[in-house]
Subunit: 114 residues, 2 copies
DNA sequence: ATGATTGTGTTCAATCAATGAACACATGTG
DNA sequence: CACATGTGTTCATTGATTGAACACAATCAT
């Protein structure tokens, strides 16, 4: 896939340091190299990142994955969207926690009375 | 699988209404019937729930999935554990949101300056 | 009565994201 | 030169999840 979360994290990390290898990205993101590779290709195809010397270079060793102007724009958009989702999650979680607190109390009560 | 989340939700819903069908459970939990069936069997095998007339009954139409005493105990334990996890998630989310807020601001700034 | 419809639980082949070992290549090292 | 290390890339395998299909029971309509 290429979820918003993945997209956001990749762009954030590459914006901070475009010279991260796919394995470093994988480690920092907590996903596999295969998935990182897939995401990078997807983002490159969308023109969101540009790998310096992608595919036909004499120096195949390492790439720098640079955000294109479109990429910077996209990063802002995705980040904002992601924030929105997280805020919603936060609110939902808050409610769920309240519910859980009540559950814990009633369960504890049930536990006592035989 | 039989995650804590699944376990908690099933026990909560069945505690509220043991007469829920597997399809109703699936709908309320947002998962497939197959998974519900799997979870119920797992919980039954653990002795956490007991299906009235499970497997060898004249009336095969519908079961009531009742929490056993062990089930009630388990529900309390799982709920507490689940609450703990959710609180941790909540804290993590809070930090992530802070981070995102900063990101949004810097991105917006970058957007302006050419 | 009997056929049709609805509602059970159950099964299991198919799906699909995700993994990570394996590969080809390039560079650095001894 | 050989060897180790570090790239990106590939792809068979894994494993959870799905949901259509099935057998059975009860109810409804004719």
């Amino acid at each position: 896939m290429l979820t918003d979360e993945c997209r956001y994290k990749v762009l954030k990390l590459l914006d901070e340091d475009p010279r991260l290898s796919q394995r470093e990205l994988a480690r920092k993101m907590g996903i596999s190299v295969g998935k990182v590779n897939y995401c990078l290709k997807a983002l490159a195809q969308k023109g969101i990142i540009k790998a310096s010397n992608f595919k036909n270079s004499a120096n195949k060793q390492a790439y720098a994955y640079l955000l294109t102007p479109k990429g910077i724009e996209d990063k802002a958009r995705v980040t904002a969207r992601f924030l929105k989702v997280k805020l919603a999650e936060h609110a939902a979680l808050q409610q769920e926690i309240e519910q859980l607190r009540r559950e814990v109390h009633t369960c504890a009560a049930e536990e006592v009375e035989p």
